[in-house]
Symmetry: C2
Subunit: 375 residues, 2 copies
């Protein structure tokens, strides 16, 4: 024998989880080679011919299925031993798409969880039903907007929130650029907005995107102050910090897409909308997910938005469904069309358009609510 052959001492369970990838390839043979290489890349990242026994048979991912999709694309279903994860979300994401994020011909399309993973990562703590209870809106779409522009003081932002709530907005969130700047420090802003919304029925979701443990600390402050929810950008803080928010703080979570756009499929790579804005968000505990609606300032298609909606509401090992919150330059007149696309479990997130209509924010909010209720 001219080579060492590595094996493991560990006995693995039969429990495996799955991921489906889209592989760009000219021929079935090329796709098969790419799928086998992917199975190695996401697990042992080591010459497969130098492994044996359980490492070769169980630690390396298995290509369970490979089928042609047409147009130079193939769907590969891989399965992974649950022991690869060690119970950590960072390592689970690494197995799903760590090194493969660097491969130009591989896209993560779908994830599948095994029972042990679903128990370890129970998903949205509130989900659609729980967030409805918190908001006191048992059915129909939710109305939402953001406090902005950057530069306003806590009292300006609080007054804006008061006017919006008086017009019937259910959920008022920070602009995602509001962090802890001198013009509107987090704690002063939290206190002022919560006070302004007391008794209105509207709830406030301050942005807790921040370095390190500060995310958790701000979320706890929000809970203690009486904010009804929090917003966080997992692209900036990592999906695992959002998952900790869900587990440790106990407020509904709005996920913001800032710094996550790198993963939007371009060419043949990236993470499909279904997984990126749907499944992975629920895996990491989001109760509502903000993303760019089609036809706005960003470039999502209607079909991609439908995929986000489906990924937020599919049967992912029993994890609760989460709300889609499409935004990004929406106009009020698009409300009926959006309801048709997303269904009743939908958060309408309208920002600048609510201000453009005229100086009376309460009247604008009432107009918005009437449109939504009439849809």
């Amino acid at each position: 024998m001219s080579q060492a052959h590595y094996d493991t001492e560990l006995t693995l369970s039969d429990e495996r989880f799955t991921a489906r990838y889209r592989i760009a390839a000219e021929t079935l043979a090329e796709a098969e080679a790419a799928a086998r290489a992917l199975a190695v890349e996401q697990t042992i990242e080591f010459p497969a011919e130098l492994t044996t026994g359980r490492i070769a048979g169980e630690v390396v991912a298995r290509v369970e299925d490979l089928r042609e999709l047409g147009d130079g694309a193939f769907a590969a279903e891989l399965s992974f031993a649950v022991e690869l994860v060690g119970g950590e979300l960072t390592q689970l994401l690494n197995v799903f798409f760590g090194n493969s994020s660097l491969l130009p011909n591989v896209r993560l399309e779908r994830i599948g969880l095994s029972p042990r993973l679903a128990a370890r990562f129970p998903g949205p703590r509130f989900g659609v039903a729980g967030l409805r209870r918190v908001l006191g809106v048992p059915k129909g779409p939710i109305l939402s907007t953001a406090l902005k522009p950057l530069g306003l003081s806590p009292s300006d932002l609080a007054e804006m929130a008061r006017r919006l709530a008086a017009g019937g907005i259910h959920l008022i969130k920070d602009d995602h650029g509001l962090a802890d700047q001198a013009f509107a420090p987090f704690e002063a802003r939290l206190e002022a907005v919560v006070r302004a919304l007391a008794g209105t029925g509207a709830i406030y979701a301050p942005n807790v995107t921040a370095p390190g443990e500060e995310t958790l600390r701000r979320a706890r402050l929000a809970r203690e102050a009486g904010a009804g929810a929090v917003m966080v950008a997992p692209g900036l803080v990592g999906f695992d910090r959002m998952e900790r928010l869900a587990r440790e703080v106990g407020l509904p979570i709005l996920s913001h897409p800032a710094f996550l756009g790198g993963f939007v499929p371009k060419g043949d790579g990236g993470i499909a909308h279904y997984a990126l804005f749907g499944q992975l968000q629920r895996l990491a505990g989001a109760d509502a997910v903000i993303f760019p609606n089609h036809g706005g300032r960003f470039a999502f298609t209607k079909e991609e938005c439908a995929q986000v909606n489906a990924g937020l509401k599919d049967d992912l090992a029993g994890l609760a469904p989460a709300f889609p919150a499409p935004g990004g330059g929406m106009s009020l007149e698009r409300v009926p069309e959006m309801r048709t696309l997303y269904g009743e479990d939908l958060i309408f997130l309208i920002g600048g358009a609510l201000h453009r209509r005229g100086p009376d924010l309460t009247a604008n909010a009432r107009y918005f609510r009437a449109l939504v209720e009439g849809a």
Copy 2:
């Protein structure tokens, strides 16, 4: 007046930082409109016509320069008030590329720091010079490899480390898939490998990529145990957690590219290699940055790799330069060519090829070292 017009009570300093973007556009007029829209998107994300005074003039980013690059591309230099950041890396990254990550026609090319930001984010704690001191290699390339495959026990990994060190490898890191799995729990692995390397002159960089505070806890354990460095994947844990590692733990940091590939430029979007694997890594404290070398399993070009190298060593407000650590399916025979491309301040990271050469790892490592020293 039919609209409210918002202004701020805050007086801003004159201190501004910058970013250069590549904008895909057909005409100069289209590029100008896109640059102005980008200036709004990254700051107030609000109808600019409804702002006035300091918000309109200072809080909104300024388009300082716009020039045609040819082939339907333009370079836009934007400047931002330092007050937008509030001293938080998450918000700085949000200003650089939060919402713009979702725009298909905008690529982040370069960042520029202002004095206050450079003081707040001092960059690599060790850098090229400091890591050389830790390794005891005052000049010439550094030799590095990874402990793998997944599935091996701590004692297997430690024995592998011992053999590699005996052959002259300077820096031995975990495979990035080694987290805290049952087959090689973090603490047992740390202890076994550090013990195996004692007295060899080689240093160990365990992978501390983990959820939440566990990253910091493992890095502190590594320091106490006597590991000489740590490895972390900022794509999985967030750049701000890597920055905390640099600030709070005091070991050299190797940055791994897992889950960061989404940002690699595809189409007209993404973050240019210069910024993604160069500048942003130093901003967040990496002393050495792993990335896929051209011609390996991934698709980086030689020019893109040269850009990474340049971004790791440029004058970024005085932040220390960091080592490039190209890897990803390198063969031993490519050593001379790599040295020509990257220069002397280079970490050779060779994984599987070191095992493929034959069963005697120490002999393979010696061959590798001789190649590097002869280059």
